[in-house]
C-alpha cells in the first residue's frame, strides 16, 4: 500500500479506537467553538433584531458595517484580539492570551457579525410582513418581538448552526491567540496545519475526517430543519 493509503488506514484506526490525543483535540475544539457561538448568539441575536426593528440615527451605517464584517478574515480577528490581549494591550491584565478563553473570545468576535447580519435580515423581512398586523391587533413591542422570534425560530437555529460551522472550521484566529500549544490550545484546525507540515499524516487526516463529519452533520441538520419548517409551517 502506498503512503497515502497507509495514512488513511491509520487515520481511520485512530478514529475507530478513539485515540486519546485525537479525542482530546476534538473535545477542545467543540468546547471552544460551542462556547464562542453561545456567547456570540446571546449578544448578536438581540443586536441583529434591534438593528432590524429600531429606528435611530446611524442605523443604516451600522447595518452596512455589520454586513461588511460578514467577510471578516479570521486571521485579522486573531491579530486584533492578540493585540488587545497581549501583555502590553488594553486587556492584557486578564492574562488569557494563549488559553482556550482567548480562543473563545476570538471565535465569538468572528461569528458575531455573521449571526447579527443574518438575524437582522430575517427579522427585517418578517417585520415588514407583520408590522401592520401586530399594530392592528394592538400588540406592544415586547409581545411583537417575542411572537416574531417564535415565528423565526427555525431560521434562527439555522443561522446559529452556520455560525458554529464557521467557528469550528476556522484556523487563523485560534492559531494566533491560542498559539497551538500541545494539550492546551491545540484544536482540530491548528493541529491539522501543524501535523501536515510535520508530515504526521494519520493524525492530520483523522482530524480532517472528523471535522468534515461535524460540518456535514451540521449542514444536514440545518437542511432537515428548514425542510421540516417549510412543510409544517409554510
Amino acid at each position: 500500500m502506498n503512503t497515502l493509503g497507509l495514512a488513511f488506514a491509520e487515520a481511520w484506526s485512530m478514529i475507530g479506537r478513539a485515540d486519546s490525543m485525537l479525542v482530546d483535540i476534538v473535545a477542545l475544539s467543540l468546547r471552544v467553538s460551542l462556547s464562542a457561538v453561545a456567547v456570540a448568539t446571546l449578544l448578536a441575536l438581540p443586536f441583529g433584531a434591534a438593528l432590524a426593528v429600531a429606528r435611530f440615527p446611524g442605523r443604516q451605517a451600522l447595518v452596512v458595517v455589520v454586513n461588511a464584517l460578514l467577510g471578516l478574515p479570521a486571521v485579522v480577528v486573531g491579530l486584533a484580539i492578540y493585540l488587545l490581549l497581549s501583555r502590553a494591550g488594553p486587556l492584557g491584565a486578564f492574562g488569557i492570551l494563549f488559553t482556550p478563553s482567548a480562543m473563545v473570545v476570538a471565535q465569538a468576535v468572528l461569528v458575531f457579525p455573521l449571526i447579527a447580519a443574518l438575524a437582522r435580515q430575517a427579522v427585517a423581512d418578517a417585520w415588514r410582513e407583520y408590522a401592520e398586523q401586530f399594530a392592528s391587533l394592538g400588540a406592544g413591542p415586547v409581545t411583537s418581538s417575542l411572537a416574531l422570534l417564535h415565528d423565526l425560530r427555525f431560521s434562527l437555529v439555522t443561522i446559529v448552526l452556520a455560525a458554529f460551522g464557521r467557528a469550528i472550521a476556522e484556523v487563523g484566529a485560534v492559531m494566533i491567540v491560542g498559539g497551538n500549544i500541545d494539550g492546551v490550545t491545540r484544536v482540530m484546525t491548528t493541529a491539522i496545519a501543524l501535523e501536515t507540515s510535520k508530515g504526521d499524516l494519520p493524525l492530520a487526516l483523522g482530524l480532517g475526517i472528523v471535522l468534515l463529519g461535524i460540518v456535514l452533520v451540521l449542514n444536514i441538520g440545518a437542511h432537515l430543519l428548514k425542510e421540516r419548517a417549510q412543510r409544517h409551517h409554510g
Binding site: L137, H150, D151, H233, G234
Partner: protein, 243 residues
Amino acid sequence: MAERETPLLPLALERVGFAAGGRAILADIDLVIEAGPRTVILGPNGAGKSVLMRICHGLLAPSEGTVRWAHPEKPGGPRRQAMVFQRPVLLRRSVLGNLTFALAVAGVRGHEREGRALAALDRVGLASFADRPARVLSGGEQQRLALARAWMLEPEVLFLDEPTANLDPGATREIESIVQSIHVSGTKIVMITHNLGQAQRLGDEVLFVDRGRIAERAPVERFFRNPATAEADAFLKGELPWH
C-alpha cells in the same frame, strides 16, 4: 353586539392630508363615518384608498389634520376595531394558535381563549382545521381565518382592504357571506374593493376616492345608477366597459 355606552363611532376626519417622500397622497379629507351602513370605498389604483383606511385604523399618522373617534380606544388597551388585509398575515403556528395569540394580545384570560377561538372557527367553517398549521391553508381559508380573528374580538368597526382580491369566485362568495354575518352581528363594515359587483352586494354607501380626495359619497344604488361626478362616471365606465 351589546350596546356600548362609549361607542367608538362616529369617526371624524378633519382636513386630513398625507404625504410620503414629498408626494401628496391624500389632501383635504373631511369625512364622518357613522355606525350602521356598510361603507364601500371605491376608486382607481393609486387614489389613496389604502392610505385613507390605514389612517382611519391608526396604522399611519396623517401628515395634516385630525382623526377623531367619538370615544377613542385607551392607549395600550385592547383594540375595539380590527382590520383584514388583502394578503392575510398569519403566524407560523396552528390555526387555533393564531386565534389564541390574538385573544392573548386583547387581554382575554387564558382559560377563555380556546373556547372563544373554537367558536370563532366554527362561525367561518374552519372548525375542523384547528390543529393545522395556518400558513399551509389555501388562500381562501387563510382569509377566512383572518376574518375569524378579527370577528372574534367583536370589534365595533372592521376595516377590510380588498379582502377578496386574490381569491377565486367560490372563496370570494364565502368571504362575502362572512362579511355580511359580521355586519349583521353589529360591527360597522368599511371595505375597499375593486369588484363592483361586490360593492353592490355588500355596500350600503359608496365613498369614491380619486387622486387623494373624496370625490363623491352616495348610496350604492344611486352611485351606480347615476354618479354625480364626471370622475366617478369615467371610473364606472372604465371598470365596466360593456356599459
